[in-house]
């Protein structure tokens, strides 16, 4: 705590110096008499939001937040920016005052590691890494590191709770809301529809375990964009991975409760802190009929570890893989890594060595594994690839030989140019499920007017939030962050922008992620008066125009 305050004082000194130098020339005429306050005015805040069409929610709540901040006396410029540019400037170059963001809830992110460690550990602050806000807090770092080492969930949870507490107290980002994921499907087509936090009807389990109604044997799933490619080494887009995991097995799967469970692995055993022993199921085969062996598994981790930029992080902790039996292999880790089961074993695709060993060397025109378009993917998963007409449909067929044969016989993935074309297709019964959240108005219309369509609903553990650049004033002052956070109309955002389809949140781990969520952290939001009080107590002042000024020196 004392370290932190020292640091802050240093920064403040810096600011004061700048502030003292810059307006010195004009000090005479801009003197204190004019404004009635001592400190320099707080800089203009540029709030970067997405464009309305990229994400109307972020665009809209950006405006609401700006309105409230202005009420506090801040000078706020809302700047709707193309997503590409946000990535380049704000996320890569860390060149921003504040910007809105949404971490989508993928199954792999149910494990708290990414939200606790990757996003907020001080080692992740270099350009391009994910701690763009430059949050550096030793105490936090300790907790974030600790949760990685603890294989015991209860013990680990304590550290995760600690992370959430410090995060809330420091407010390097202000969590705003979790979206309610409402996805429509045809009621007549299914007896039972499985859904999952964060992914809704796009989840693995929906495809595998949903029970079609009599007469229907197909899952026709619409999604508002097309799969890019089915190269397991590439898979940059979430959607690609969501498709490939139907075709390729993984050793573990994250189940609907968010817990990693054995999948292709029959058993997973922690031999010690850094040694994991995995035994794979007996008698598994590839879609082309070849037998799936433990060598394939070893090959997959090594091959993808070497060639796949996306799975790089997942294979990173692995130092060595050793085959110790017919169906058994051991992973040796550099250091204890608790998320290994969920994040690594649960993410790395198992690919056939007899095919991928040839790539790229056995191919013309393919220079690296990433260049391979993998036109007819061969996996061992519950679905096997049949045909793909890009932008029309992708046909997958149930793998009858799989240990968990899907309940549907066929799955057709249908891409739409946008949500409205998909909703049209659903109403025309051309497709029977949509793996994306339509706008609230469409949800209401489907609910009220369209009888044959039903909505499935589940919370997202992904979170809408706002980021502050902690290296820049005034965000370097925790009091300011607190005040800004208090001023955010979280409830209004959920009610108005999301039309009630969401939940206010105060932590980076969502409430729906019950096991890891810490319900007892500092809460901010919906209280402008409190925000003003906080600023006043910290010595901030307002001039006659209502503009906020830094505390006098």
């Amino acid at each position: 705590m004392s370290d932190e305050s020292v640091k802050r004082r240093d920064v403040m000194k810096g600011v004061a110096t700048v502030a003292a130098v810059a307006p010195v020339a004009t000090a005479g005429c801009l003197g204190d008499d004019d404004t009635g306050v001592d400190g320099e005015p707080v800089e203009e805040i540029e709030l970067i939001v997405t464009t309305a069409d990229y994400d109307p929610v972020r665009y809209e709540f950006g405006q609401l937040i700006a309105d409230n901040w202005r009420e506090l006396g801040f000078d706020v410029d809302v700047n709707p920016t193309a997503w590409n540019t946000i990535v380049d400037t704000a996320m890569d170059q860390q060149d921003f005052d504040a910007f809105t963001l949404n971490w989508g809830g993928r199954a792999e992110r149910i494990d708290p590691d990414i939200f606790c460690y990757d996003l907020h550990h001080s080692s992740q602050t270099e350009l391009g890494a994910r701690n763009q806000v430059n949050f550096e807090n030793e105490e936090y770092d300790e907790a974030a590191e600790a949760q990685r080492r603890l294989y015991d969930d209860e013990e680990r949870r304590e550290q995760v709770y600690r992370c959430q507490e410090i995060f809330a107290e420091e407010q390097p980002r202000t969590p705003i809301a979790n979206q309610e994921q409402i996805m429509p499907y045809l009621a007549d087509a299914f007896d039972e529809v499985v859904t999952m936090m964060g992914e809704g009807l796009m989840s693995f389990w929906t495809a595998v375990d949903s029970e079609p109604a009599g007469g229907n044997s197909e899952l026709r799933l619409g999604y508002p964009s097309e799969v890019n490619n089915l190269n397991p080494a590439d898979g940059q887009a979430t959607h690609d991975q969501q498709t490939m995991r139907l075709i390729y097995d993984r050793l573990m799967r994250i189940n609907t409760d968010g817990v990693a469970e054995e999948w292709l692995a029959e058993s997973v055993e922690e031999v010690d802190d850094t040694t994991i022993e995995v035994t794979i199921r007996d008698g598994q085969s590839w879609h082309d009929g070849e037998e799936l062996t433990v060598e394939d598994v070893k090959f997959s981790f090594e091959y993808l570890g070497e060639h796949s930029p996306v799975l790089d992080a997942a294979t990173d902790p692995v130092e060595d893989i050793e085959i110790v039996g017919d169906r058994t292999l051991r992973f040796d880790l550099d250091e204890p890594f608790a998320p290994f089961l969920a994040v690594s074993l649960g993410q790395v695709f198992i690919i056939p060595e007899h095919i991928w060993a040839e790539i790229p060397d056995g191919m013309d025109d393919v220079n690296s594994p990433l260049d391979f378009d993998n036109p007819e993917p061969v996996g061992s998963g519950p679905f096997q690839f049949v045909d793909w007409q890009r932008d029309e449909q992708m046909v997958l067929e149930a793998n009858e030989d799989h240990f968990n044969t899907p309940n549907v016989e066929t799955m057709i993935k249908v891409p739409g140019a946008d949500m409205s074309t998909l909703v049209r297709l659903l109403e025309d019964e051309e497709i029977n499920m949509i793996g994306w959240v339509p706008g609230p108005d469409t949800v209401n219309r489907l609910e009220e007017d369209v009888d044959h369509v039903e909505n499935s609903s589940i919370e997202d553990h992904g979170w809408y939030h706002i980021n502050y650049q902690l290296e820049r004033p005034p965000f370097d002052d925790k009091d300011v962050r607190h005040a800004l956070a208090h001023a955010i109309p979280k409830q209004d955002i959920v009610d108005v922008v999301m039309d009630g389809m969401g939940t206010v949140t105060h932590s980076q781990i969502a409430e729906v992620n019950e096991f890891w969520h810490n319900p007892d952290v500092m809460e901010f939001g919906d209280d402008i008066d409190r925000a003003r009080d906080v600023l006043e107590e910290a010595g901030y002042q307002w001039d006659d125009d209502g503009r906020i000024h830094y505390p006098a020196e």
């Binding site: 890494a129 790089d312 990433l370 932008d391």
Partner: protein
């Protein structure tokens, strides 16, 4: 100048235009901000991985080397590999190209047939109320961007009357026909084709319609029209065999431009009607920073326009026996 010499010269011009077009493409896209990885940052990619991919795509090479590469690739008939699909751009586009050609080709043909016939009629009806109504209708159609006509026909024929499918090119789940002709001649395909073609036709019809009417006014003043009337030919014969036939030249030249507009229009029409064509691909490619794909689509669209210009010039020579090759 003989016909042959004219054609040769025209081909030479074609080559120059092509080269300039291709170079322009390169310059445009290499100046583009962002790179193909930025779309996926939120999906969990770290910085190191991004740099790896950028190097893998050759984007860290000096610009002139990239240009040489690019020209070499194009000369060997390759557009390169899609950043996004990891598949040769040509393989993706060859299917979408035909999807677009069938859609926009049908639309331009419909627009021309209807526009020319109706435009001729408007010219014939000079000064009548029907002409006025026709002109206003034509201007109205031309003033409504494609997406607006699309929204209207969609609302009427798909949502309200429910006669036609609201999007897509084929029914979902239909077996993919193996042969080219079976793909594009099935009733299912035509059923899906009607609505987008209608939307596009309404917009593109206006240009030939109004132009045809204008040139008709000139042609109808010609002496031979009077003679043909005096000859006792039927009005229809005079209107379509003589007057319209003589008015069609500028309209034909305009076809190249209308085709160009239609290529652009495919961006909008295909997006609204969920049509798996080049236009929609291009919009997505830009959104995904997939430059080879966007370039490929742009290249093909430009090629259609350039070739249509070329064909229009040759057609001009064919249609008008008086034309001199200059």
């Amino acid at each position: 100048m003989g016909l042959r010499e004219y054609v040769v010269r025209r081909i030479f011009q074609l080559v120059i235009t092509y080269w300039a077009f291709i170079t322009l493409l390169f310059v445009l896209f290499r100046a583009a901000p962002g790179d193909p990885t930025s779309m996926f940052v939120m999906d969990g990619m770290d910085e190191e991985s991004r740099q790896e991919i950028i190097a893998d795509l050759g984007l860290d090479q000096p610009l002139y080397l990239q240009y040489v590469d690019y020209m070499g690739q194009l000369l060997s008939g390759s557009f390169g590999v899609s950043f996004r699909y990891r598949e040769p751009v040509w393989d993706v586009l060859v299917i979408k190209f035909w999807n677009t050609i069938f859609l926009m080709g049908a639309a331009v043909i419909c627009a021309y047939v209807i526009g020319v016939l109706a435009g001729a009629l408007l010219g014939w009806w000079r000064g009548k109320r029907a002409e006025r109504v026709g002109i206003v209708a034509g201007l109205m159609a031309r003033s409504s961007p494609e997406f607006w006509t699309s929204i209207i026909v969609l609302s009427v024929f798909a949502f309200w009357l429910g006669w036609l499918p609201s999007g897509g090119m084929r029914s979902i789940g239909a077996e993919m026909a193996p042969s080219f002709s079976a793909r594009y001649l099935s009733t299912d395909f035509v059923y899906h084709l009607v609505l987008p073609v209608m939307a596009a036709t309404i917009y593109y019809m206006a240009t030939p319609l109004l132009l045809m009417r204008n040139t008709m006014l000139d042609v109808l003043k010609a002496d031979f029209i009077e003679i043909k009337k005096a000859e006792g030919l039927s009005e229809l014969t005079i209107l379509y065999k003589h007057a319209a036939r003589n008015s069609i030249l500028p309209v034909v030249t305009m076809a190249a431009i209308v085709t160009g507009t239609a290529m652009g229009g495919s961006l909008v029409i295909e997006t609204v009607f969920n049509w798996p064509g080049m236009g929609r691909e291009m919009v997505e490619a830009i959104n995904y920073n997939d430059y080879p794909m966007a370039m490929g689509a742009f290249f093909l669209m430009g090629s259609v326009v350039i070739i249509m210009n070329f064909v229009a010039d040759l057609l001009y020579v064919y249609l008008d026996p008086r034309v001199e090759y200059k």
